[in-house]
Amino acid sequence: MSNVIEIEHMNKFYGQFQALSDINMTVEQGEVVVILGPSGSGKSTLIRCINLLEAYQDGDVRVADQRVENGPKLAGIRCEVGMVFQNFNLYPHLTVLANVALAPVRVRGMSRRDAQVRARALLEKVGMAAHADKYPSQLSGGQQQRVAIARTMAMEPRVILFDEPTSALDPEMVGEVLDVMQSLARSGVTMIVVTHEMGFARKVADRVIFMENGRIIEQNNPQDFFTAPQEPRTQAFLQAILHH
Protein backbone atom coordinates (compact mmCIF):
# COMPACT_ATOMS: atom_id res chain seq x y z
CA MET A 1 0.00 0.00 0.00
CA SER A 2 1.25 3.47 -0.80
CA ASN A 3 1.21 6.20 1.82
CA VAL A 4 -0.50 9.40 0.81
CA ILE A 5 0.69 11.21 3.92
CA GLU A 6 3.77 10.61 6.03
CA ILE A 7 4.59 12.70 9.08
CA GLU A 8 7.84 12.12 10.96
CA HIS A 9 9.01 13.71 14.20
CA MET A 10 7.08 16.88 13.53
CA ASN A 11 7.08 19.72 16.07
CA LYS A 12 5.03 22.85 15.83
CA PHE A 13 5.41 25.98 17.94
CA TYR A 14 3.33 29.12 18.30
CA GLY A 15 6.09 31.38 19.57
CA GLN A 16 7.25 29.71 22.79
CA PHE A 17 4.21 27.45 23.05
CA GLN A 18 4.63 23.96 21.64
CA ALA A 19 1.34 23.05 19.97
CA LEU A 20 2.49 19.71 18.49
CA SER A 21 5.16 17.39 19.86
CA ASP A 22 6.91 14.63 17.95
CA ILE A 23 4.03 13.73 15.66
CA ASN A 24 4.47 10.53 13.67
CA MET A 25 1.72 9.21 11.47
CA THR A 26 1.02 7.81 8.05
CA VAL A 27 -2.17 7.66 6.05
CA GLU A 28 -2.61 5.11 3.30
CA GLN A 29 -4.41 5.51 0.03
CA GLY A 30 -8.13 5.01 0.61
CA GLU A 31 -7.91 5.15 4.38
CA VAL A 32 -10.33 7.11 6.56
CA VAL A 33 -8.65 8.43 9.70
CA VAL A 34 -10.62 10.17 12.43
CA ILE A 35 -8.80 12.40 14.90
CA LEU A 36 -10.33 12.80 18.34
CA GLY A 37 -9.20 14.78 21.33
CA PRO A 38 -10.21 17.48 23.79
CA SER A 39 -10.38 21.13 22.81
CA GLY A 40 -6.93 22.66 22.40
CA SER A 41 -5.20 19.31 21.93
CA GLY A 42 -3.84 20.34 18.53
CA LYS A 43 -6.17 18.52 16.11
CA SER A 44 -6.76 21.53 13.87
CA THR A 45 -3.13 22.52 14.03
CA LEU A 46 -2.06 19.05 12.97
CA ILE A 47 -4.20 18.86 9.84
CA ARG A 48 -3.43 22.48 8.94
CA CYS A 49 0.26 21.58 8.91
CA ILE A 50 -0.44 18.98 6.24
CA ASN A 51 -1.29 21.66 3.66
CA LEU A 52 0.93 24.27 5.29
CA LEU A 53 -1.83 26.63 6.34
CA GLU A 54 0.29 26.48 9.49
CA ALA A 55 4.07 26.22 9.30
CA TYR A 56 5.81 23.49 11.29
CA GLN A 57 9.32 23.87 12.67
CA ASP A 58 10.89 20.41 12.90
CA GLY A 59 10.55 17.07 11.19
CA ASP A 60 8.91 16.20 7.91
CA VAL A 61 5.46 16.21 6.43
CA ARG A 62 5.22 14.49 3.06
CA VAL A 63 2.30 14.24 0.69
CA ALA A 64 2.70 11.65 -2.05
CA ASP A 65 6.45 11.57 -1.30
CA GLN A 66 6.87 15.33 -1.63
CA ARG A 67 7.98 17.31 1.40
CA VAL A 68 5.42 19.97 2.29
CA GLU A 69 7.34 23.22 2.49
CA ASN A 70 7.27 26.74 1.16
CA GLY A 71 8.45 27.05 -2.40
CA PRO A 72 7.40 26.63 -5.99
CA LYS A 73 5.99 23.14 -5.39
CA LEU A 74 3.61 24.15 -2.62
CA ALA A 75 0.67 25.03 -4.88
CA GLY A 76 1.02 21.68 -6.62
CA ILE A 77 0.98 19.85 -3.30
CA ARG A 78 -2.06 21.80 -2.16
CA CYS A 79 -3.91 20.62 -5.26
CA GLU A 80 -3.52 17.11 -3.89
CA VAL A 81 -4.76 17.99 -0.41
CA GLY A 82 -8.32 19.24 -0.20
CA MET A 83 -9.68 20.89 2.92
CA VAL A 84 -13.19 21.30 4.28
CA PHE A 85 -13.51 23.94 6.97
CA GLN A 86 -15.71 24.26 10.02
CA ASN A 87 -17.15 27.53 8.68
CA PHE A 88 -17.42 26.35 5.05
CA ASN A 89 -15.52 29.37 3.71
CA LEU A 90 -17.44 29.37 0.45
CA TYR A 91 -16.75 32.33 -1.84
CA PRO A 92 -19.79 34.52 -1.05
CA HIS A 93 -19.66 36.59 -4.25
CA LEU A 94 -19.84 33.53 -6.51
CA THR A 95 -22.74 31.22 -7.27
CA VAL A 96 -22.66 27.68 -6.00
CA LEU A 97 -21.66 26.46 -9.45
CA ALA A 98 -18.89 29.05 -9.78
CA ASN A 99 -17.61 28.15 -6.32
CA VAL A 100 -17.10 24.57 -7.43
CA ALA A 101 -15.77 25.38 -10.91
CA LEU A 102 -13.33 28.17 -10.00
CA ALA A 103 -10.19 26.33 -8.93
CA PRO A 104 -10.27 23.64 -11.64
CA VAL A 105 -10.26 26.42 -14.23
CA ARG A 106 -7.62 28.55 -12.56
CA VAL A 107 -5.35 25.86 -11.18
CA ARG A 108 -5.90 22.75 -13.29
CA GLY A 109 -6.27 24.76 -16.47
CA MET A 110 -9.59 23.12 -17.29
CA SER A 111 -11.87 24.84 -19.77
CA ARG A 112 -14.73 26.75 -18.16
CA ARG A 113 -17.22 24.53 -19.95
CA ASP A 114 -15.69 21.27 -18.76
CA ALA A 115 -15.32 22.61 -15.24
CA GLN A 116 -18.99 23.56 -15.12
CA VAL A 117 -20.12 20.22 -16.44
CA ARG A 118 -18.08 18.50 -13.78
CA ALA A 119 -19.21 20.93 -11.11
CA ARG A 120 -22.82 20.02 -11.89
CA ALA A 121 -22.04 16.33 -11.62
CA LEU A 122 -20.38 16.88 -8.24
CA LEU A 123 -23.27 19.00 -7.00
CA GLU A 124 -25.55 16.18 -8.05
CA LYS A 125 -23.49 13.83 -5.90
CA VAL A 126 -23.90 15.96 -2.79
CA GLY A 127 -27.56 16.61 -3.52
CA MET A 128 -27.13 20.30 -4.35
CA ALA A 129 -27.67 20.35 -8.12
CA ALA A 130 -30.97 22.20 -7.75
CA HIS A 131 -29.18 25.08 -6.02
CA ALA A 132 -26.37 25.55 -8.54
CA ASP A 133 -27.31 29.12 -9.39
CA LYS A 134 -27.86 30.35 -5.84
CA TYR A 135 -25.40 32.28 -3.74
CA PRO A 136 -23.96 30.76 -0.54
CA SER A 137 -25.86 33.22 1.67
CA GLN A 138 -29.11 31.79 0.33
CA LEU A 139 -28.30 28.30 1.63
CA SER A 140 -28.56 26.64 5.03
CA GLY A 141 -25.38 25.66 6.85
CA GLY A 142 -25.71 22.02 5.92
CA GLN A 143 -26.23 22.91 2.28
CA GLN A 144 -23.23 25.23 2.31
CA GLN A 145 -21.04 22.51 3.76
CA ARG A 146 -22.16 20.06 1.08
CA VAL A 147 -21.23 22.61 -1.56
CA ALA A 148 -17.87 23.09 0.14
CA ILE A 149 -17.29 19.35 -0.07
CA ALA A 150 -18.13 19.40 -3.79
CA ARG A 151 -15.78 22.35 -4.26
CA THR A 152 -12.99 20.37 -2.63
CA MET A 153 -13.75 17.25 -4.68
CA ALA A 154 -13.57 19.30 -7.87
CA MET A 155 -9.79 19.45 -7.58
CA GLU A 156 -9.65 15.64 -7.38
CA PRO A 157 -7.25 15.70 -4.44
CA ARG A 158 -5.45 12.58 -3.20
CA VAL A 159 -6.70 13.24 0.32
CA ILE A 160 -9.30 15.48 1.94
CA LEU A 161 -8.85 17.04 5.36
CA PHE A 162 -11.99 17.84 7.34
CA ASP A 163 -11.75 20.20 10.34
CA GLU A 164 -14.90 19.72 12.41
CA PRO A 165 -17.15 19.90 9.34
CA THR A 166 -20.37 19.63 11.34
CA SER A 167 -19.52 21.69 14.43
CA ALA A 168 -21.00 24.93 13.09
CA LEU A 169 -24.25 23.27 12.02
CA ASP A 170 -27.65 23.15 13.63
CA PRO A 171 -28.22 19.62 14.92
CA GLU A 172 -30.82 18.77 12.29
CA MET A 173 -28.30 19.45 9.51
CA VAL A 174 -25.46 17.34 10.84
CA GLY A 175 -26.85 14.14 9.36
CA GLU A 176 -26.98 15.30 5.75
CA VAL A 177 -23.30 16.31 5.83
CA LEU A 178 -22.19 13.12 7.55
CA ASP A 179 -24.11 11.12 4.94
CA VAL A 180 -22.19 12.82 2.15
CA MET A 181 -18.90 12.19 3.93
CA GLN A 182 -19.78 8.56 4.47
CA SER A 183 -20.53 8.02 0.80
CA LEU A 184 -17.21 9.67 -0.08
CA ALA A 185 -15.47 7.27 2.29
CA ARG A 186 -17.24 4.34 0.69
CA SER A 187 -16.14 5.43 -2.76
CA GLY A 188 -12.52 5.17 -1.66
CA VAL A 189 -11.60 8.80 -1.00
CA THR A 190 -8.73 9.15 1.45
CA MET A 191 -9.87 11.26 4.38
CA ILE A 192 -8.60 12.72 7.62
CA VAL A 193 -11.49 13.89 9.74
CA VAL A 194 -11.34 15.93 12.93
CA THR A 195 -14.75 15.55 14.54
CA HIS A 196 -16.68 15.08 17.75
CA GLU A 197 -19.16 12.78 16.02
CA MET A 198 -18.47 9.46 17.70
CA GLY A 199 -21.06 7.66 15.59
CA PHE A 200 -19.21 8.66 12.44
CA ALA A 201 -15.89 7.56 13.92
CA ARG A 202 -17.28 4.15 14.86
CA LYS A 203 -19.06 3.53 11.60
CA VAL A 204 -16.81 5.05 8.96
CA ALA A 205 -13.27 5.28 10.27
CA ASP A 206 -10.60 2.74 9.43
CA ARG A 207 -8.48 4.13 12.22
CA VAL A 208 -9.00 6.50 15.13
CA ILE A 209 -6.24 8.73 16.48
CA PHE A 210 -6.53 10.26 19.92
CA MET A 211 -4.60 13.44 20.71
CA GLU A 212 -3.95 15.36 23.89
CA ASN A 213 -1.61 18.26 24.66
CA GLY A 214 -0.19 18.25 21.16
CA ARG A 215 0.70 14.56 21.18
CA ILE A 216 -0.73 11.46 19.60
CA ILE A 217 -1.63 9.37 22.63
CA GLU A 218 -3.16 6.33 21.02
CA GLN A 219 -4.39 5.02 17.69
CA ASN A 220 -6.31 1.94 16.80
CA ASN A 221 -9.13 0.56 14.69
CA PRO A 222 -12.47 1.95 15.88
CA GLN A 223 -13.68 -1.36 17.28
CA ASP A 224 -10.74 -1.71 19.67
CA PHE A 225 -10.39 2.00 20.23
CA PHE A 226 -13.89 2.39 21.61
CA THR A 227 -14.24 -0.92 23.41
CA ALA A 228 -10.72 -1.42 24.74
CA PRO A 229 -8.78 1.85 24.95
CA GLN A 230 -5.24 1.25 26.25
CA GLU A 231 -4.20 4.60 27.68
CA PRO A 232 -5.76 6.01 30.84
CA ARG A 233 -6.16 9.41 29.19
CA THR A 234 -8.06 7.88 26.31
CA GLN A 235 -10.28 6.04 28.74
CA ALA A 236 -10.98 9.23 30.65
CA PHE A 237 -11.81 11.10 27.44
CA LEU A 238 -14.18 8.40 26.22
CA GLN A 239 -15.80 8.17 29.64
CA ALA A 240 -16.47 11.90 29.63
CA ILE A 241 -17.82 11.93 26.09
CA LEU A 242 -19.88 8.77 26.02
CA HIS A 243 -21.55 9.34 29.35
CA HIS A 244 -22.90 12.75 28.51
Binding site: N51, G82, P92, H93, A103, M155
Partner: protein
Protein backbone atom coordinates in the same frame (compact mmCIF):
# COMPACT_ATOMS: atom_id res chain seq x y z
CA UNK B 1 -32.29 94.28 -10.08
CA UNK B 2 -28.77 95.53 -9.90
CA UNK B 3 -27.92 92.35 -8.04
CA UNK B 4 -29.31 90.14 -10.77
CA UNK B 5 -27.43 92.14 -13.35
CA UNK B 6 -24.19 91.75 -11.48
CA UNK B 7 -24.25 88.08 -10.61
CA UNK B 8 -26.51 86.61 -13.24
CA UNK B 9 -25.78 88.74 -16.26
CA UNK B 10 -27.12 86.79 -19.23
CA UNK B 11 -25.06 88.52 -21.93
CA UNK B 12 -21.84 88.03 -20.06
CA UNK B 13 -22.72 84.42 -19.48
CA UNK B 14 -23.52 83.74 -23.10
CA UNK B 15 -20.22 85.31 -24.15
CA UNK B 16 -18.19 83.29 -21.69
CA UNK B 17 -20.09 80.04 -22.10
CA UNK B 18 -18.18 78.43 -25.01
CA UNK B 19 -14.81 78.87 -23.29
CA UNK B 20 -16.20 77.68 -19.98
CA UNK B 21 -17.60 74.62 -21.65
CA UNK B 22 -14.15 73.90 -23.03
CA UNK B 23 -12.79 74.46 -19.53
CA UNK B 24 -15.30 72.00 -18.15
CA UNK B 25 -14.05 69.46 -20.67
CA UNK B 26 -10.48 69.96 -19.48
CA UNK B 27 -11.58 69.66 -15.86
CA UNK B 28 -13.42 66.40 -16.50
CA UNK B 29 -10.52 64.98 -18.52
CA UNK B 30 -8.03 65.90 -15.81
CA UNK B 31 -10.30 64.42 -13.16
CA UNK B 32 -10.88 61.18 -15.02
CA UNK B 33 -7.20 60.68 -15.87
CA UNK B 34 -6.15 61.36 -12.28
CA UNK B 35 -8.86 59.12 -10.85
CA UNK B 36 -7.86 56.21 -13.09
CA UNK B 37 -4.15 56.64 -12.38
CA UNK B 38 -4.93 57.00 -8.68
CA UNK B 39 -6.99 53.81 -8.61
CA UNK B 40 -4.46 51.71 -10.51
CA UNK B 41 -1.54 53.13 -8.52
CA UNK B 42 -3.48 52.77 -5.29
CA UNK B 43 -4.20 49.10 -5.86
CA UNK B 44 -0.56 48.46 -6.68
CA UNK B 45 0.57 50.41 -3.64
CA UNK B 46 -1.86 48.56 -1.37
CA UNK B 47 -0.45 45.23 -2.61
CA UNK B 48 3.13 46.34 -1.91
CA UNK B 49 2.12 47.74 1.45
CA UNK B 50 0.42 44.50 2.46
CA UNK B 51 2.43 41.76 0.78
CA UNK B 52 5.80 43.21 -0.33
CA UNK B 53 9.12 42.31 1.23
CA UNK B 54 9.86 44.25 4.40
CA UNK B 55 11.83 47.15 2.84
CA UNK B 56 9.19 47.56 0.13
CA UNK B 57 6.42 47.52 2.71
CA UNK B 58 8.26 50.14 4.69
CA UNK B 59 8.81 52.29 1.63
CA UNK B 60 5.15 52.09 0.55
CA UNK B 61 4.05 53.05 3.99
CA UNK B 62 6.38 56.05 4.04
CA UNK B 63 5.16 57.11 0.61
CA UNK B 64 1.52 56.86 1.67
CA UNK B 65 2.10 58.89 4.82
CA UNK B 66 4.08 61.59 3.02
CA UNK B 67 1.52 61.96 0.26
CA UNK B 68 -1.32 62.19 2.72
CA UNK B 69 0.50 64.87 4.69
CA UNK B 70 1.67 67.21 1.97
CA UNK B 71 -0.86 69.86 0.87
CA UNK B 72 -1.88 69.14 -2.71
CA UNK B 73 -1.28 72.74 -3.76
CA UNK B 74 2.27 72.61 -2.41
CA UNK B 75 2.98 69.40 -4.31
CA UNK B 76 1.53 70.84 -7.49
CA UNK B 77 3.63 73.98 -7.25
CA UNK B 78 6.72 71.86 -6.55
CA UNK B 79 6.12 69.72 -9.61
CA UNK B 80 5.34 72.60 -11.91
CA UNK B 81 7.77 75.27 -10.72
CA UNK B 82 10.59 73.33 -9.01
CA UNK B 83 11.10 70.27 -11.21
CA UNK B 84 12.17 72.36 -14.24
CA UNK B 85 15.31 73.20 -12.27
CA UNK B 86 16.35 69.56 -12.60
CA UNK B 87 15.36 69.44 -16.22
CA UNK B 88 11.87 67.95 -15.80
CA UNK B 89 9.47 70.29 -17.50
CA UNK B 90 5.86 69.14 -17.46
CA UNK B 91 2.89 70.75 -19.17
CA UNK B 92 0.36 72.24 -16.80
CA UNK B 93 -1.96 69.32 -17.52
CA UNK B 94 0.72 66.71 -16.88
CA UNK B 95 1.85 68.47 -13.72
CA UNK B 96 -1.70 68.67 -12.38
CA UNK B 97 -2.45 65.04 -13.31
CA UNK B 98 0.78 63.93 -11.65
CA UNK B 99 0.12 65.83 -8.42
CA UNK B 100 -3.50 64.69 -8.23
CA UNK B 101 -2.79 61.02 -8.90
CA UNK B 102 0.32 60.87 -6.69
CA UNK B 103 -1.81 62.00 -3.76
CA UNK B 104 -4.96 60.16 -4.73
CA UNK B 105 -3.17 56.82 -5.05
CA UNK B 106 -1.96 57.17 -1.47
CA UNK B 107 -5.53 57.61 -0.26
CA UNK B 108 -6.92 54.84 -2.45
CA UNK B 109 -4.13 52.53 -1.28
CA UNK B 110 -5.30 52.94 2.29
CA UNK B 111 -8.91 52.40 1.25
CA UNK B 112 -8.03 49.24 -0.69
CA UNK B 113 -5.97 48.02 2.25
CA UNK B 114 -8.83 48.44 4.69
CA UNK B 115 -11.13 46.58 2.29
CA UNK B 116 -8.71 43.69 1.84
CA UNK B 117 -8.11 43.46 5.57
CA UNK B 118 -11.86 43.21 6.14
CA UNK B 119 -12.02 39.92 4.20
CA UNK B 120 -12.11 36.98 6.62
CA UNK B 121 -8.99 34.80 6.84
CA UNK B 122 -11.05 31.79 5.83
CA UNK B 123 -11.34 33.18 2.30
CA UNK B 124 -7.57 33.29 1.91
CA UNK B 125 -7.28 29.83 3.43
CA UNK B 126 -9.95 28.27 1.24
CA UNK B 127 -8.29 29.68 -1.83
CA UNK B 128 -4.79 28.66 -0.73
CA UNK B 129 -6.00 25.15 0.14
CA UNK B 130 -7.14 24.75 -3.46
CA UNK B 131 -3.68 25.57 -4.75
CA UNK B 132 -4.69 28.96 -6.13
CA UNK B 133 -1.81 31.34 -6.78
CA UNK B 134 -1.52 34.71 -5.05
CA UNK B 135 -2.57 36.46 -8.24
CA UNK B 136 -5.64 34.26 -8.75
CA UNK B 137 -6.60 34.52 -5.10
CA UNK B 138 -6.55 38.30 -5.35
CA UNK B 139 -8.31 38.54 -8.68
CA UNK B 140 -11.01 35.92 -8.21
CA UNK B 141 -11.61 35.76 -4.47
CA UNK B 142 -10.36 38.71 -2.44
CA UNK B 143 -10.61 41.81 -4.62
CA UNK B 144 -14.17 41.24 -5.87
CA UNK B 145 -15.31 41.11 -2.25
CA UNK B 146 -13.08 43.99 -1.19
CA UNK B 147 -14.36 46.18 -4.04
CA UNK B 148 -17.86 45.96 -2.67
CA UNK B 149 -16.69 47.07 0.75
CA UNK B 150 -14.60 50.00 -0.49
CA UNK B 151 -17.14 51.30 -2.98
CA UNK B 152 -18.48 54.18 -0.82
CA UNK B 153 -15.16 55.52 0.52
CA UNK B 154 -13.56 55.07 -2.90
CA UNK B 155 -16.29 57.08 -4.59
CA UNK B 156 -15.83 59.82 -2.00
CA UNK B 157 -12.15 59.82 -2.80
CA UNK B 158 -12.89 60.17 -6.51
CA UNK B 159 -15.18 63.12 -5.78
CA UNK B 160 -12.34 64.77 -3.88
CA UNK B 161 -10.01 64.30 -6.83
CA UNK B 162 -12.58 65.82 -9.15
CA UNK B 163 -12.97 68.79 -6.80
CA UNK B 164 -9.24 69.26 -6.40
CA UNK B 165 -8.78 69.62 -10.16
CA UNK B 166 -9.72 73.28 -9.58
CA UNK B 167 -6.29 73.78 -8.02
CA UNK B 168 -4.79 73.24 -11.46
CA UNK B 169 -5.83 76.75 -12.44
CA UNK B 170 -2.92 77.89 -10.28
CA UNK B 171 -0.47 76.48 -12.83
CA UNK B 172 -2.35 78.17 -15.67
CA UNK B 173 -4.20 75.13 -16.85
CA UNK B 174 -7.25 76.22 -18.87
CA UNK B 175 -9.74 74.32 -16.75
CA UNK B 176 -13.23 75.44 -15.82
CA UNK B 177 -12.16 77.70 -12.97
CA UNK B 178 -9.36 79.29 -14.99
CA UNK B 179 -11.68 80.03 -17.92
CA UNK B 180 -14.21 81.50 -15.53
CA UNK B 181 -11.75 83.78 -13.79
CA UNK B 182 -10.41 84.96 -17.14
CA UNK B 183 -13.90 85.68 -18.43
CA UNK B 184 -14.64 87.49 -15.22
CA UNK B 185 -11.56 89.68 -15.61
CA UNK B 186 -12.39 90.38 -19.23
CA UNK B 187 -16.00 91.37 -18.64
CA UNK B 188 -15.42 92.93 -15.25
CA UNK B 189 -18.43 90.92 -14.07
CA UNK B 190 -18.59 87.93 -11.68
CA UNK B 191 -21.28 86.05 -13.60
CA UNK B 192 -18.79 83.54 -15.11
CA UNK B 193 -17.65 82.63 -11.59
CA UNK B 194 -21.23 81.94 -10.54
CA UNK B 195 -21.68 79.95 -13.72
CA UNK B 196 -18.56 77.91 -12.97
CA UNK B 197 -19.79 77.18 -9.45
CA UNK B 198 -23.08 75.94 -10.86
CA UNK B 199 -21.28 73.76 -13.38
CA UNK B 200 -19.10 72.23 -10.65
CA UNK B 201 -22.25 71.47 -8.70
CA UNK B 202 -23.95 69.88 -11.70
CA UNK B 203 -20.89 67.69 -12.15
CA UNK B 204 -20.40 66.64 -8.54
CA UNK B 205 -23.83 66.60 -6.91
CA UNK B 206 -24.91 63.43 -8.76
CA UNK B 207 -21.69 61.71 -7.65
CA UNK B 208 -22.31 62.71 -4.05
CA UNK B 209 -25.84 61.42 -4.25
CA UNK B 210 -24.60 58.19 -5.76
CA UNK B 211 -22.41 57.66 -2.70
CA UNK B 212 -25.26 58.19 -0.26
CA UNK B 213 -27.44 55.90 -2.34
CA UNK B 214 -24.82 53.14 -2.32
CA UNK B 215 -24.28 53.59 1.42
CA UNK B 216 -27.98 53.43 2.16
CA UNK B 217 -28.39 50.35 0.00
CA UNK B 218 -25.44 48.62 1.69
CA UNK B 219 -26.84 49.43 5.12
CA UNK B 220 -30.26 48.07 4.17
CA UNK B 221 -29.17 45.14 1.99
CA UNK B 222 -26.94 43.51 4.59
CA UNK B 223 -24.64 40.79 3.41
CA UNK B 224 -26.52 39.61 0.36
CA UNK B 225 -23.97 38.71 -2.29
Amino acid sequence: MELLDTFFNWDVFVDAFPLMLRGLGVTVLLGVVSIILGLVGGLLLAMLRLYGYAPIRWFSRAYIDVMRSIPLLVLLVLIYYALPFVGIRLSSFAAAAAALSLVSCAYSAEIFRSGIEAIPRGQFEASASQGMSFFNTMRDVILPQAMRIVMPPMTSNCINVMKDTALASVVAMPDLLKQATQAQALSANPTPLVGAAVMYLLLLLPMVQLVSWVERRNAAGGKRA
